[in-house]
Structure formats: C-alpha cells, structure tokens
C-alpha cells in the first residue's frame, strides 16, 4: 500500500464490499441490488448481508434464473435513470450475459449518439479451490477488456474493494466488477467514510529493482508472497496492482518496467489474448526495443480447471511458480530454482475449506 498511515478499521474484503454498497444505497435512492440469491440468508457469502433488512425488497431482490434477460433489465433500468448493481455468484455465468453486455451495455452510449448513459455495476466472483471445477472458476476479465465502452475492475484487497465499488456505482458507464472468492476473508485497513478508488491509477504495492511483477486480482497477494521468497535469494521484485483493468494505467507499469527491464504479469485467467498479453503488448509498444525489456506471462493452464486436487494445484499459478518464473527471467543462466512448496502457501488459502 502506498497509503502510509493505515486509516480506518481492519475490515474483511467481504465486509468492505458490503459497506460500500450500503453507504451508496443510503446516499442514492436509485441504487439497487439484484441478482440470484442476493436476499437469502447466505447473502452471496455475506457480501449482501443486511441490505434487504435495511433497504427492503424493492431495492434488494433475487431474480429468476434468467441471466440474459436480467442483464437487459439492468441495462434498461440504468438507461432509465437508475443505478443497478447486478450480482453473479460466479463470473462463469457472465457468459450468458455477453449479448446484453457487449451488444447493448457497452455500445449504447456511442450507438445512440451520447443520448443515454448506462450506470451499471456487474458484480461477479471468481471461484477457486475445493473442486470448483471447469465452470465455476473462470476469470473472464480479458473478454470485457476487449470491448470498448465497458470498464473493468479487479480490486485485490479490502481497502480497494470499497473504494472501487463506490467509484463503480458512481460511474456513468457499465463496470464489470471482478471479485475473487479467496479474497473475501482477507483484511485491510478500511476508512469508514465513503471514498473512491478511481479508474486510471495503478498502485505500486511494493518496490523493487530487478523485475516488475504485475498481479491481477488475487494474484497480487501471490505476487507479494513470491516477492518475499525472491528477496531471500536477492531478487527485488516491484509488485504492481493495476486495480482497474479498463481504463488501464499503463504509464505506471511502463515507468517501472523501464527501470527494472523485466516485466512479468501474473493473471487470474488464461493467458492467450489475456490481460497479460495486453499489458505486455502495450508496454512494449510504448517502450520500444531500446527499453530492452524481457517479458513473461503467467496464468491459468490452457485447459479447463480440473477439480482433482493434484491437477487443480498444477492448473493455478502460485507464489512458487511466480517466483521461479521471475528467477528464470532474472538469472537466465543460473540453474532453475523453485522455492519450497510449503512456504509458497498463502495464509488465507491454508485457512480456506469447502464446501461453498
């Protein structure tokens, strides 16, 4: 964090998320929350808890299993002056919403000559571990980054999730809000008063001189752990959290990569045409060959996410694979190095146990 003095209370990601929504709903009567199961007792892992009680069933309601139409309903309501937050417990289900999001939500403002706006937030969670399997685990952010007119954000900690949610709700454009299941219990200092973490500014989470390590969503945490392991062998990694993926603050990444001359992007999705491809290509277009920057992408294995534990472990990048990738890039002639697997586990993942 660049925030030098921790402000606010130590809050879990899930609670910061809920607080942001509640505060905005208090402020603006046009904000409403809907989507499958937002009003049940599990309340989307607690992230919508208390909203129904405070704001009533007109502003907090479940829907039929009709993701396609419900997305259109959200878009229409947004054009008509409301500010919907449409919630999906898995990002995989957004594949049912692509027509509405891409053909209408993203294009409406341009296609209708600026006569409408679509202030819509689409919350969606990336699932991971406990055998979520092929259809409950996808990080599909790059598909949305591809489409002009959408904004995309993937906050990695409790502080940012609150500020990004408030910024997203106040934004007059459709925002794809990507959360990560494993981040929900993680804690950070979160100010109580509303604040915005605005689009367009990446955060240098930790400094370093040997490599620029861009982490997306929960991969920020994994990169931070990799950084610790790398430090032990004398490699200094600068970890950057882009926070907002569209618009992307490429300048901050360029500035760092120019200095470290090495760029590794660790993503929470597949790499082909992924966020890492975009970041690598955008940086190198800017810097040119004179920059002499070595690049590498890390992400999901190019297959469907398998639930069997051994395969699942191999499917995901982790602090160990990030660290060894960085090592290979920084010391190409040295023998391959991999940190002790026991030491690559993240505290919040060790805690976590299904089912959910």
């Amino acid at each position: 964090m660049t925030t030098s003095m921790p402000e606010g209370r130590l809050l879990r990601y899930v609670d910061a998320l809920r607080e942001a929504v509640a505060q905005e709903m208090r402020r603006d009567g046009d904000v409403f929350v809907f989507g499958l199961d937002v009003d049940d007792h599990k309340s989307i892992q607690g992230s919508t808890a208390g909203l129904l009680e405070e704001f009533g069933p007109e502003r907090v309601f479940t829907t039929p299993l009709s993701e396609d139409a419900m997305t259109g309903v959200a878009i229409g309501a947004a054009m008509a002056g409301m500010r919907p937050i449409h919630v999906h417990i898995r990002m995989d289900f957004l594949l049912l919403c692509m027509n509405q999001l891409v053909n209408i939500g993203a294009k409406a403002r341009a296609m209708y000559g600026g006569s409408v706006k679509v202030p819509l937030v689409v919350r969606s969670m990336v699932g991971k571990s406990w055998g979520q399997g092929a259809q409950h685990s996808q990080g599909l952010h790059s598909m949305f980054m591809h489409v002009p007119g959408l904004k995309v954000v993937a906050p990695s900690n409790a502080h940012d999730v609150k500020g990004c949610m408030i910024a997203a709700i106040r934004d007059d454009n459709p925002v794809i809000f990507m959360e990560h299941r494993l981040l929900y219990p993680t804690e950070a200092y979160v100010p109580e008063t509303p604040y915005e973490v605005l689009p367009g500014k990446a955060r240098v989470v930790a400094p370093g001189d040997d490599v620029t390590l861009v982490g997306i969503s929960n991969m920020v945490l994994e990169c931070l752990r990799a950084r610790e392991l790398l430090a032990e062998i004398g490699i200094g990694a600068e970890v950057i959290d882009p926070i907002w993926l569209t618009p992307l603050d490429i300048d901050t990444i360029v500035e760092s990569a120019r200095r470290t001359r090495r760029l590794v992007v660790a993503d929470n999705g597949w790499t082909a045409c992924g966020a890492g491809a975009e970041i690598v290509a955008a940086v190198l277009e800017r810097v040119g060959p004179e920059g002499g920057i070595a690049v590498k992408r890390i992400g999901f294995a190019a297959t469907a996410c398998p639930p069997s534990p051994v395969l699942e472990a191999a499917f995901y990048p982790n602090p160990g694979t990030v660290a060894s990738t960085v090592h290979a890039l920084v010391r190409p002639t040295a023998p391959a190095w991999t940190p002790d697997p026991e030491r690559t586990k993240l505290a919040h993942q060790v805690q976590f146990r299904g089912p959910f």
């Binding site: 229409g76 008509a80 409301m82 296609m111 209708y112 409408v116």
Partner: protein
C-alpha cells in the same frame, strides 16, 4: 365503422379527431418510408433499411394510447413506432443519412433509432435484445413511480429468443407496466412461421404467465388502439404486463426498399387482402376529403423538410470518432 356518419354529433366529432390523428400518423409514416424507398437507390442512405410499410397501423394504434411520459421500445424495423411516439423526424432522416444532426449523431444508422426526449428507447439490430431492456425501463417506471408505461414492439421472430420468455416471467412476477406488442408478419427474413414455430399458440402461452393477451387479426387500427388503451389503463392501475399479438404483413423485402414477390419465397397473393384493407387508405376514406387534402399538403411539406434537413446538414468529422465511448 359508423362513427363518421353524422358529423353533427359531438361524440362523432371527437372520434373524427381521433381518426384524423391516427390518419396523420399513418400517412406520415407511409410517406416517410415511401420517400426512403425513393431515395434509397441514389445511395444517400448508406445503411440497411427495414421498412414498416403495411405494418404502420400497429405502431400508430398503440402509440395513440400513450403519453409523453411513456416509452416505446422499437426494433430495427422501427420507423413507424419512432414516428408514432413523436420521435424527431428531422433527426431520424438525418441519422439515416449518417449526419451529425441525426438522432444518434450518425453513430446509429437506420437500425438504431433513438429519441430519449420523446420516449423512444434506442433500437437494437440483434433480434430480441430490446425486450429485456424495455422490461428494465418498465422496472424503473414502477420503482420511480413515474406512472409511465412501456410499449415494447417485437416481431414474431423475436418471440423465439429465450430472453422473450425470461422477460415475460420477470415482468409478470413483478407486475411491471409493460405492453408487449408482437407484430406477427409471418416471416423472419424469408423464413415462414411453419419453419420456426412448433405451434401458433403464442397468446395462450403468454397467458400462462398470468398476462392478459389479445390477438388482433383483422388489421384494424382502431382495434389495436382500443386494446392498447385498455392495456395502458390496466397497467397504470398496477395490474402488470399485457400482451398483444397483431397479425400483419410486410409489403416490401426484409431489408431494402423493394417488393420481393419475384423471389419465390412468398406469393404476391398473400399481400392482396392486406393491400385491400390498407389502413392508410381506409382512414383517408373516413375523413372529409378537403381535410385529407390539407393534411397531405402539410405532411408532404413535413417530410420534404426532413429530407432537406438531412440532405443539407453536415456529416460528422473523423475527429468525432471517439465521442461517447464513455459517459
């Protein structure tokens, strides 16, 4: 209809006003589209056009029941509903000409007409897509208690998209003020109902959501208006959505300005009964001929002015390219 027989009767006078209003809208739409068809071969309109010619009575009948606070959701075949709801005609033609003064600043084209001031929700060229969006407008109308309603025009083909069923269920569940109007012209492009619908029991199906339905098969603009008026009254009273299926016929080709009976996929005889009871001609016959002549002068001038406006108004410039990507 007997309502014009005695012009002394005040009730009839009111009806005459209605007839005139409907006729004006019908005639205006027809003239606009005739003019579109006329200029189209000159390439001033560089965009696909889907004409409503022959189907105007539905938009005109429905929109006559609406107020300014209400919305219509139109399709790529939406010229009639756009005009009937009071959309800006100059802006419409300018849009088709790709001009900056177009309702979409030249970024929409014929298939994406919009006029938020007049309550015309922007059209989509992806069939069915507009149905849930319109439903969202109805949700907002209810939540914001504007008292407004939404009329959502769709084709028979659009009822085959899953979002149609999803939207009906949601609208009925939440008792949203939305009137779904299916313009059943029997074809999706060149494909007849028989190749797309397992049965024609559409109204019956919609009714199972608890939605009142009416099917109008005789092409009568007054019947459409009556059905829309009672639907609107019920919706304003909070009774939830209504469904209207109106049989009609597309006189021209699916896209483009021409007739297409020489293409073999449908016989000209299908059109005959529809041409015979053309509502534009019929309503002209219900009005005093001087009135019709006066209206013709007025409407012709309006249409000519709109095309002149479009013709003379400037194109966007390439610097406008990135306008409105984000709000």
């Amino acid at each position: 209809m007997s309502i014009v027989q005695d012009a002394q009767d005040p009730a009839v006078a009111q009806d005459l006003a209605v007839i005139e209003r409907l006729y004006r809208a019908l005639r205006l739409t027809r003239l606009v589209e005739d003019e579109v068809a006329r200029v189209y071969p000159t390439d001033v309109i560089k965009s696909p056009v889907h004409l409503s010619i022959g189907q105007e009575f539905i938009s005109v009948g429905v929109c006559d029941a609406l107020e300014p606070r209400d919305h219509v959701s139109i399709t790529y075949r939406g010229h009639a509903a756009y005009i009937a709801k009071g959309g800006d005609l100059n802006a419409m033609i300018a849009e088709m000409y790709g001009k900056k003064a177009g309702c979409g600043q030249g970024r929409g084209g014929s298939m994406h007409l919009v006029d938020m001031k007049a309550g015309v929700i922007g059209a989509s060229a992806v069939v069915g897509t507009s149905i849930p969006v319109a439903t969202g407008f109805a949700l907002a109308a209810k939540r914001k208690t504007t008292g407004g309603v939404v009329a959502c025009f769709i084709g028979d083909g659009a009822t085959e998209e899953g979002c149609f069923a999803e939207s009906l269920n949601f609208a009925a569940l939440h008792k949203l003020p939305i009137l779904f109007v299916c313009e059943n012209n029997g074809y999706a492009i060149h494909e007849p109902l028989a190749k797309r619908w397992a049965t024609e029991r559409l109204c019956e199906r919609v009714a199972t959501y608890g939605i009142p339905t009416t099917k109008i098969t005789d092409g009568d603009v007054f019947a459409v208006r009556d059905a829309a008026r009672s639907a609107v009254a019920a919706m304003r009273a909070g009774h939830g959505p209504v469904f209207l299926e109106v049989t009609c016929y597309r006189w021209r080709e699916h896209v483009g300005p021409n007739e297409d009976f020489n293409q073999g996929y449908r016989p000209a005889s299908e059109m005959t009964p529809w041409a015979e009871r053309d509502e534009v001609a019929r309503l002209a016959g219900l009005l005093p001929s001087e009135r019709v002549a006066a209206l013709e002068t007025e409407i012709t001038a309006t249409v000519a002015a709109a095309f002149a406006f479009a013709e003379t108004s400037p194109f966007p410039v390439s610097e406008d390219l990135y306008d409105h990507v984000y709000a």
